[in-house]
């Protein structure tokens, strides 16, 4: 390291080297931040500045996930318009229709408050900015900050200055992080990852210095993190684990005690300030490890204190007595509390982290979200490219000089790679540590191979001679790399890898992560771009043509969009807090009309919205999600909705002529294919998503009537018919109408015939 810096000094000409390097580093960091921001602007440039949901359906063939920029946007608007206090007490009666939602108490307010504060600061500086632009550009802005935080974190790990810069650059453009922070993805993760990295930086700083101040700062940023993202539980468990491992390694010191206890005491109180979190840190088992380690470190500190007064033998005796006593008491207390139900059991999402099959069996609502699916192996390479194979090397290098902070890196690496394997979404928490480890490995390589080739031959031969004289046999493998050829090869190949990485990141960002799911882009045969804007067309139709409080029923994926873009009340939305209510919608969708209609009436539904991709080949449509609706409904009404009935005798999920009667009578099927065959010549109707022929006869809808179908048939909206004026049921009414028509036709025919005669 000294060699590298001295050689750099030589390069930068002596005394001015230090400040020049400092300046250079600042410029590089700013450039990295700028690049990080710029590479996230694809979607704004290509489409317009709209809030969009990130669409992972390209990778995992399911459907857009439950991230909720539209809701966040709506909440931010509410915050800006009505002020902080009414935001805090916000009861939203336009979602979850009959129930409403205590929104102020059930969200993480960090994101909205952040953009609200930015808005007001800009207003104060007399820069008139629309709140929408702040929301769209918040994520790229914070990703620039994340790169800076990454630099700070990595600089704590390594003495090499290049490691920090490399890590910052990796973090700036790694697709795993870009996936959630492109312009317009106004989501909690946008600021949460910055907070995550920065909290870890402060924590490392606290452990290194052992000062209350750093611990308190860690706690403050932890509190901010808690206010911003549910993933704060990761920090809540990682820091205690780090401390625990340090204790087990016999590395207890007053620094660890000071930083941990300060963080825990302040951080827990801070996290309880958020109404949504409330008493969870005391009650929920997810937080118990932190409490346990807090107790443990008190005991260890006391034991360490007592040890000062005693020789070893007696100390051990005392220690055994103490340990037995406290463990007995603690265990009894824990059992008592768990049995009496004071401590809540582990939450379902937590179980699904350990047993990947758990969610599918017990909580279909969690399993139905594609971001909760296990990660496919190519996704690692897709999201991290060559960082993923540098990652183990970096972790290995941490083992080589194992200080407290390196222990942290190792624990973080192990935990997050497991979690990333379990859930696609947690790739996000893996990305920072991969960047750190890869930067450590790469800076190690570059420091050895690139820098030594630079200094003038004198210095090189001098060091050469010294080394070879003193420790020829041991130093040989290190010192042996002198030929410019091998250096050039290694440096060149690293450069090529880096360039490839940049190219890959740009490609991924531009192609996979920058398309808003509400606007689909496709290529025409001549290569020009064609934009399919059915979603916005339909939402605009709803906004213009329906009553202000018309209730729209759709599957929950579209709830936030309808609320945000069409501004109409919805039954269920992406905040899946009430499983029963979602199952009700699922039941209405998957049952026969006679069953569904009472449900629709009971819930005041005016319009039903379905997404149908059959004409366009849009795979994320409702029929492909249909089985999840069935499963969720079956979870509540196992007698009335049965998943088996939707499969053919051979276990196939079919929508063509061989579809089961249950399937063909289900509301969802009818709404999807209603009148669809009229687009095609007789007998030629094809569903392009499922690649099958569609029955030649249109399904008959009695209780609904078609209200709107978008240009490419992606969105179809049906109006729920009112009760029949004559008190008939809809079946009879429709049959009667048809009969009447026929009669009328014959009557018309009759007179005409008569007249001609």
């Amino acid at each position: 390291m000294a060699q590298s810096s001295s050689s750099l000094d030589v390069l930068l000409k002596g005394s001015s080297g230090q400040s020049t390097r400092g300046l250079l580093r600042i410029i590089i960091l700013l450039t990295i931040a700028a690049a990080a921001v710029a590479s996230r602007l694809f979607s704004v440039i290509r489409f317009e500045s709209i809030i969009h949901e990130y669409d992972r359906s390209r990778n995992i063939d399911l459907f857009p996930i439950a991230v909720d920029p539209w809701f966040n946007f709506r909440a931010t608007k509410y915050l800006v318009q009505n002020g902080f206090y009414s935001f805090w007490d916000w009861f939203d009666d336009r979602t979850w229709h009959p129930l409403g939602r205590v929104t102020g108490g059930t969200l993480y307010p960090g994101l909205m408050v952040t953009s609200g504060v930015i808005y007001h600061i800009l207003r104060f500086l007399t820069i008139p900015v629309d709140i929408r632009n702040i929301c769209v550009l918040l994520a790229p802005g914070f990703s620039g900050l994340t790169a800076l935080a990454m630099y700070l974190l990595t600089c704590e790990m390594s003495t090499s200055p290049s490691a920090g810069l490399l890590a910052a650059a990796f973090m700036g453009i790694a697709p795993g992080y870009i996936s959630r922070s492109v312009a317009g993805s106004y989501d909690n993760e946008a600021i949460a990852i910055f907070l995550l990295v920065f909290t870890f930086f402060l924590w490392i700083k606290a452990v290194k210095n052992g000062s209350i101040m750093w611990g308190a700062l860690t706690a403050l940023f932890y509190g901010y993190m808690v206010s911003a993202w549910g993933g704060y539980v990761f920090i809540t468990n990682l820091i205690p684990l780090h401390v625990f491992v340090l204790l087990c390694m016999g590395r207890y010191s007053s620094r660890v005690y000071i930083s941990y206890t300060t963080w825990y005491a302040l951080g827990t109180l801070g996290s309880m300030q958020i109404p949504f979190v409330g008493f969870l840190p005391i009650r929920n088992s997810d937080h118990m490890s932190a409490l346990g380690v807090f107790g443990l470190i008190q005991l260890v500190a006391f034991a360490d204190f007592v040890r000062g007064f005693l020789p070893g033998k007696q100390f051990q005796k005392l220690l055994t007595a103490m340990v037995l006593l406290t463990f007995g008491l603690g265990f009894a207390g824990l059992v008592l509390l768990s049995v009496s139900g004071v401590i809540a059991p582990w939450s379902g999402r937590f179980y699904s982290l350990w047993d990947t099959g758990y969610a599918k069996i017990h909580i279909p609502i969690i399993a139905s979200v594609s971001e909760h699916q296990p990660t496919a192996w190519p996704a690692f390479f897709f999201d991290l490219n060559f960082l993923i194979w540098l990652f183990p090397a970096g972790v290995f290098m941490c083992f080589q000089n194992l200080k407290d902070e390196h222990v942290f890196v190792i624990i973080y690496a192990v935990l997050s790679s497991y979690f990333a394997g379990v859930m696609v979404r947690l790739m996000l928490t893996l990305t920072p540590i991969v960047c750190v480890a890869a930067a450590l490995a790469l800076s190690g390589i570059l420091d050895h191979f690139m820098v030594l080739s630079k200094p003038n031959p004198e210095a090189q031969t001098k060091t050469n001679a010294e080394d070879s004289k003193s420790l020829r046999s041991t130093q040989k493998p290190v010192v042996g790399i002198y030929s410019y050829f091998s250096k050039a090869v290694v440096t060149g190949s690293i450069t090529v890898y880096l360039l490839l990485f940049v190219a890959h990141c740009t490609w991924v960002t531009s192609n996979a992560y920058s398309s808003p799911s509400v606007v689909l882009a496709s290529r025409m045969p001549d290569g020009s771009q064609h934009i399919i804007d059915d979603y916005r067309e339909a939402y605009y139709w709803l906004r213009q043509n329906t009553a202000d409080n018309a209730k729209i029923m759709s599957w929950w994926d579209y709830g936030y969009q309808i609320g945000g873009m069409a501004d109409r009340p919805t039954l269920v939305d992406n905040n899946t807090w009430n499983n029963t209510h979602i199952a009700t919608v699922g039941k209405a969708m998957s049952s026969r009309e006679e069953v569904s209609y009472p449900i629709l009436r009971q819930h005041d539904v005016d319009y039903v919205l379905v997404v149908f991709g059959g004409l366009l080949g849009y795979s994320g449509d409702d029929l492909n999600k249909f089985l999840w609706m069935v499963r969720i409904a079956e979870g509540i009404w196992p007698d009335e909705v049965k998943e088996r009935d939707f499969f053919t005798a051979r276990g196939e999920y079919r929508v063509d002529d061989e579809a089961t009667p249950t399937m063909r009578n289900s509301l969802m099927y009818k709404m999807s294919y209603y009148n669809y065959q009229s687009l095609f010549p007789a007998g030629q109707a094809v569903d392009r998503v499922r690649g099958t022929r569609v029955p030649t006869e249109s399904p008959q809808l009695n209780t609904l009537e078609e209200a709107f179908t978008s240009e490419n048939w992606i969105i179809r909206i049906y109006k729920v018919k009112d009760l029949d004026n004559f008190g008939r049921d809809h079946n009879n009414a429709v049959a009667f109408d048809k009969g009447l028509k026929r009669k009328r036709a014959s009557k018309k025919k009759g007179p005409r015939v008569l007249r001609t005669e």
Binding site: S211, S253, T262, A265, L310, Q314, L318
Partner: protein
């Protein structure tokens, strides 16, 4: 010898033993002394070696333990109805205790460096730490300023949480 051990294990009469051990240092404590005797010994040692200022901190910490314990007792016996209030009161006590303990560690590390308190490992770590950056216990003023900073945040949170 057996008689003596017996006497110690009943914990009724360790007093005649310990003053003698105290005067001649910890090495005279019998290797097979009972836990109670050892605890007694530790107590005597503690009173003898701790400086006045640290004792003051310790008294404060003992007071905080008392306050926290009382609140917890109240919560168990009389119910936790204003749970916010109980939590913030209790965590104020715990947090202040922890902060004070941290302050005590930082100030007594450098203050009584001659004592045999820190273990070899801890000493090494601290030594390396002092070399690298202005670590724990470089200045009492810094430690105290940190302490006040931490306490301010703590009490702000508590007051905000108390309802």
């Amino acid at each position: 010898m057996p008689a003596k051990r017996h006497a110690a294990s009943t914990t009724s009469a360790p007093a005649p033993v310990t003053p003698a051990t105290l005067s001649s240092g910890p090495s005279t404590l019998k290797t097979n002394a009972s836990a109670a005797a050892i605890a007694q010994h530790v107590w005597e040692q503690y009173l003898a070696t701790t400086p006045q200022r640290t004792l003051l901190l310790d008294a404060f910490m003992a007071f905080l333990v008392l306050v926290g314990g009382l609140q917890f007792l109240y919560c168990v016996l009389a119910g936790n109805y204003p749970f916010n209030a109980f939590l913030s009161g209790f965590s104020a006590a715990v947090g202040q205790f922890v902060l004070t303990a941290s302050l005590r560690m930082q100030t007594s590390d450098s203050g009584s460096g001659s004592s045999s308190k820190p273990s070899s490992k801890g000493k090494n770590a601290r030594f390396a730490d002092d070399n690298e950056d202005q670590g724990s216990g470089t200045s009492h003023e810094r430690a105290f300023a940190d302490y006040i900073f931490g306490s301010l945040i703590l009490h702000f949170f508590c007051i905000n949480f108390i309802n």
